[in-house]
């Protein structure tokens, strides 16, 4: 059984946000209008955060794409009174939209702020609805939503493999963000398959001392791994800046 995970190489990421639009397109994320930004209610299942470091002229803008961390011990799960958020056997932290009653406890308990509440009924002009992905539900007002590693793609690939009476092939499925990312900064795959791209990348990066996870010390065991950015001006290990 696969255990899905993601590796994001910050030395490759250029902050272009192709991943963000690809995710919006794939997952029917509503258009983030100007109003929504003013209300601080923009929804972005993957977002690219920009951090400043240093001062002009030695200033750095650092980029970090942030999807749901898919924690193995997810703090958002036990607080849901209706079990709308649960863990799949393949390690994905899932959200059942039609079970969610909008208490937002999960959002409060998520340290990474990757759960989004639908304050409004999502709206598209009629013609733009033609683009909506039929594999993904449109979430209604009053429910939480979040990145689920494009689970519909995974399910489709697994069903296809089943019909063809074979096991899922290594790296047969990927997420929309990883597919779009022009620099190959995002790689998705099965962490338990030693031949998968993510496993190989992690093994290699582990040797280089580049692997870390966001807020790792909280012990939630995220399945999104970051590879440290390399900076010619940085001091030697364990240089860590933010």
């Amino acid at each position: 059984m696969p255990r899905w995970g993601m590796v994001i190489d910050l030395d490759r990421c250029i902050g272009c946000e192709a991943c963000v639009v690809a995710c919006q397109a794939e997952n029917n994320v509503p258009i983030n209008t100007e109003d929504v930004y003013h209300q601080r209610r923009a929804i972005a299942w993957i977002r690219v955060e920009r951090y400043w470091e240093g001062e002009y002229p030695n200033i750095k803008a650092r980029y970090i794409p942030v999807p749901c961390m898919q924690c193995t011990n997810a703090p958002c799960e036990p607080v849901c009174p209706v079990y709308a958020t649960y863990h799949t056997t393949e390690g994905i932290n899932m959200q059942v939209y039609n079970r969610c009653i909008g208490t937002r406890y999960c959002a409060v308990n998520c340290h990474w702020h990757v759960r989004f509440f639908n304050f409004w009924e999502p709206k598209w002009p009629d013609s733009l609805k033609n683009q909506l992905n039929p594999d993904v539900t449109v979430r209604s007002r009053g429910v939480m939503e979040k990145c689920n590693f494009c689970v519909h793609r995974i399910v489709k690939a697994e069903q296809k493999a089943k019909v063809e009476k074979r096991a899922l092939r290594t790296d047969e499925v990927t997420t929309a963000c990883a597919q779009a990312c022009p620099t190959n900064a995002i790689v998705f795959g099965d962490l338990d398959d030693p031949n998968s791209a993510v496993s190989k990348l992690l093994a290699q990066a582990e040797q280089e001392g580049r692997v870390y996870r966001l807020l790792e010390d909280l012990g939630t065991d995220p399945k999104v791994y970051y590879l440290k950015k390399i900076d010619v001006a940085a001091a030697a290990e364990p240089a860590a800046t933010h």
């Binding site: 272009c16 002009y56 750095k60 013609s127 609805k129 683009q131 190959n184 900076d231 940085a234």
Partner: protein, 747 residues
């Protein structure tokens, strides 16, 4: 519709090849048997219930023209991605390509041909295609030939072939409107290396990149191919990591990824390049005879280079110190084969052409042309018909002349296709007045943009994903590449492909063009590729060839490569930048910059792109001014204070974004907004920086120098909320939990 007609439509229009499907009838639509059994009556012809189809097509020319695949489900395009087989991009794409479906299903697409109630009234009424074509043909009969001009944006390669045939048949002049920086870039490539095709920096193999101002990861020439190569440059080679230095006036999102950023005064890129050449020569790190073509191009000799263009002299104007310049020069020598590129604001100065020649010319000194890890020159399109005529691309100066002729009445008919001169040219060029004065204006735009608002007739083009075409990516990956564009869905509105309309108009005027439709032209040109050497597409006959071409999404031949020539005569001379406005009144330099998603405003109608945070400020849906913290302190400004920006050209009021990376003395402002028309998502937000840019040109090319205006800002006392992503998600500073971890290369 009768069954026979129905089959004809299905076979000739929107059913292209299903990629990777291995279907034996690719290109001919769904097999006939399926129609009999399953085709419902009121659904699109290519409706396949509940099954995904992936069609190969091509990105628009201004996005790089590379191969795409589009997921189509039940007759509707759902998702755009890069074509995994396509050279240079390997399945990758960007936000702009992803947003192509929003152009297709845009609620403000023009539904069908229109006639204006009266010019400029903004009131249009729908008419039939027959009468639209007849009336426009009548206009061309009376006011065609040399009394008419066809203004287009950069056409696709197959559109260029149709336009050319149309031009030859009717005598109508063709003028191409491209962003000024690209005009300068192409002219520089033409005169420096003998090709107007753009070069490709082979980053995947380069140990070192020196970039002068080009925003190459975010919108410049071929962002997807270059970003993919950048990923390889950084982490694609075990044990080797490419080093990237950026010299430029603004910490663009591209500069933010550099290992070192050297902020300079806008427009001094060329002088810094010369000072680098000076170091290389005086220190003897590069053989002296290598310098000959470089010095020839710039019209200087060794003595002048060594005496006048010292790092110390360059330091006085550029804002760098001599040590930094030496450091860059040494890095170039240490990390061979290094590659040097330049563009964006470097090209938009009053010495833009000189800047590009001086910077790109460094590649000659490094002897890296067409070498792995160097600057790869691209060959001309493999078929002469696919060349976009470079002489049709007009400079700012030539636009002013053209519009003067329109105003004077010697040109009475203006046809406009996917170009928006009213918005994209500075007001001083006089596009608006000219269009008002013209006797007839016909637009082929699928949207009511500013120029289309002034048209008498609108014959709306199809969306990009609804048309046939061939596209030569520019730049290609260093060898001949052609992408095939095919409709992935049936037209969503009653538009017609621009090429079809030109062919039909020519017919009405009594000229038969060589092809009956844009599709026919595409296929006729495509099969000619079969006869060229080394092509990647198999096919025992033309039909089979086409099937494979459509399934693969393109044709390429690694045997057809670009060749380099070096300049034998002087093409420019060293010059510093000039600015309009005196320093006492206008202490700062105004530095507009193209938006990473909206470009120069041509993509402002797509809501995904409007809502995508600008990577440095994270602002969305607006125009803002970027000022340095020091400037903000001096003027008592904070983010969201509205300031009055004054240049010798005019005044606008805009909210401030205090940008910690902004250079004191440089006020940056993004292009992209300020549309007065162009659909609900673009209209009425922000300002177009061109309204305050002085109409100053680069004497070498006659193009607009949009980074050559001085300005001042004053506090108005008002505030305005700026929509911004920063802070949308609450952030806490936790000392023990660094977010972005960084390490030194050797660690």
């Amino acid at each position: 519709m009768r069954r026979r007609e129905f089959l004809k439509v299905a076979a000739t229009s929107a059913t292209g090849a299903v990629l990777f499907a291995g279907c034996g009838r690719i290109g001919d639509g769904v097999p006939e048997t399926e129609f009999k059994i399953a085709q419902p009556v009121h659904t699109p012809n290519d409706w396949v219930y509940g099954r995904d189809a992936w069609f190969a097509t091509a990105a628009p020319p201004d996005q790089g023209g590379y191969g795409l695949i589009v997921r189509v489900f039940e007759g509707r395009a759902k998702k755009v991605d890069g074509n995994p087989d396509f050279p240079g991009i390997a399945g990758k794409s960007d936000a702009r390509a992803q947003a192509l479906v929003q152009e297709l299903y845009h609620p403000d697409r023009i539904a069908g041909p229109q006639r204006a109630a009266s010019r400029g009234s903004g009131q249009f009424q729908q008419i039939s295609w027959d009468s639209a074509l007849q009336e426009v043909a009548q206009v061309l009969r009376e006011n065609g030939g040399d009394r008419a001009v066809l203004i287009t944006g950069r056409p696709s390669s197959s559109q260029a072939a149709i336009i050319n045939a149309f031009r030859q048949a009717t005598g109508i002049r063709h003028a191409i409107l491209e962003p000024d920086e690209f005009v300068v870039l192409r002219t520089a490539m033409q005169r420096l290396f003998g090709t107007s095709m753009l070069p490709y920096p082979d980053l995947g193999n380069a140990p070192f990149l020196l970039n002068f101002s080009a925003d190459f990861l975010h919108g410049w020439i071929a962002p997807v191919a270059l970003a993919r190569a950048y990923g390889e440059f950084r982490q694609g080679r075990p044990g080797k990591r490419g080093l990237y230095y950026h010299v430029g006036p603004r910490l663009s999102a591209t500069a933010a990824n550099a290992d070192r950023w050297f902020p300079i005064t806008p427009g001094t890129e060329g002088l810094v390049a010369l000072a680098i050449a000076n170091v290389l020569l005086t220190e003897g790190s590069i053989p002296a005879d290598t310098f000959r073509p470089y010095l020839t191009a710039l019209g200087i000799d060794e003595t002048r280079l060594t005496s006048e263009f010292t790092p110390e002299r360059a330091a006085e104007t550029s804002g760098l110190n001599a040590e930094q310049i030496r450091e860059i020069a040494h890095a170039l020598v240490e990390h061979q084969p290094a590659v040097v590129i330049a563009g964006t604001s470097a090209a938009a100065a009053t010495n833009g052409f000189f800047n590009l020649v001086a910077c790109f010319g460094l590649n000659l000194l490094l002897s890296n042309l067409n070498q792995p890890g160097g600057l790869l020159l691209n060959p001309d399109p493999p078929l002469a018909e696919l060349r976009v005529p470079q002489d049709a691309v007009l400079s700012e100066r030539q636009w002013a002349e053209l519009f003067e002729q329109v105003r004077a009445g010697s040109i009475s008919t203006v046809l406009v296709y996917r170009a928006n001169p009213v918005y994209s040219l500075p007001p001083a060029v006089g596009a608006t007045d000219a269009l008002r004065a013209a006797q007839h204006v016909v637009s082929f735009s699928p949207f009511f943009d500013e120029t289309t608002q002034l048209a008498d007739f609108v014959l709306p083009d199809l969306a990009w994903l609804e048309q046939w075409g061939l596209q030569v990516p520019d730049p290609g990956p260093g060898y001949a590449t052609v992408a095939i564009q095919q409709p992935v869905v049936q037209p969503f509105v009653d538009g017609r492909a621009f090429g079809d309309v030109l062919i039909q108009l020519a017919q009405q005027l009594g000229h038969a063009l060589p092809w009956g439709s844009q599709e026919e032209a595409t296929k006729a040109l495509a099969v000619q590729l079969r006869r060229l050497s080394g092509g990647s597409v198999p096919g025992a006959n033309d039909k089979e060839f086409l099937v494979h071409l459509q399934a693969q999404g393109g044709w390429w031949s690694e045997q057809l490569r670009g060749s380099a020539t070096t300049p034998a005569t002087r093409i420019t001379s060293p010059r510093g930048p000039e600015f309009i406005g005196d320093t006492s009144q206008y202490p700062s330099v105004l530095l507009p910059y193209p938006s990473h998603t909206l470009g120069y405003g041509e993509l402002a109608h797509l809501p995904w792109l409007q809502g995508l945070p600008e990577p440095i400020s994270t602002n969305v849906w607006q125009t803002w001014l970027e000022v340095a913290p020091r400037t903000a302190d001096e003027l008592g400004l904070t983010t969201e204070d509205v300031v009055r920006l004054t240049t010798p050209q005019g005044t606008v009021e805009l909210p401030v974004y205090v940008n910690p990376a902004a250079q004191p003395g440089v006020i940056a402002i993004p292009f992209g907004q300020g549309h007065t028309a162009y659909g609900r998502y673009a209209e009425g937000r922000g300002v177009n920086p061109l309204t305050v840019v002085a109409p100053q040109t680069d004497p070498d090319t006659g193009t607009l120098a949009w980074s050559a205006t001085r300005c001042r800002i004053e506090k108005t006392g008002r505030r305005m909320r700026l929509a911004r992503f920063e802070g949308n998600v609450p952030a806490f500073q936790l000392e023990e939990f660094p977010i972005v971890r960084v390490m030194a290369p050797s660690a």
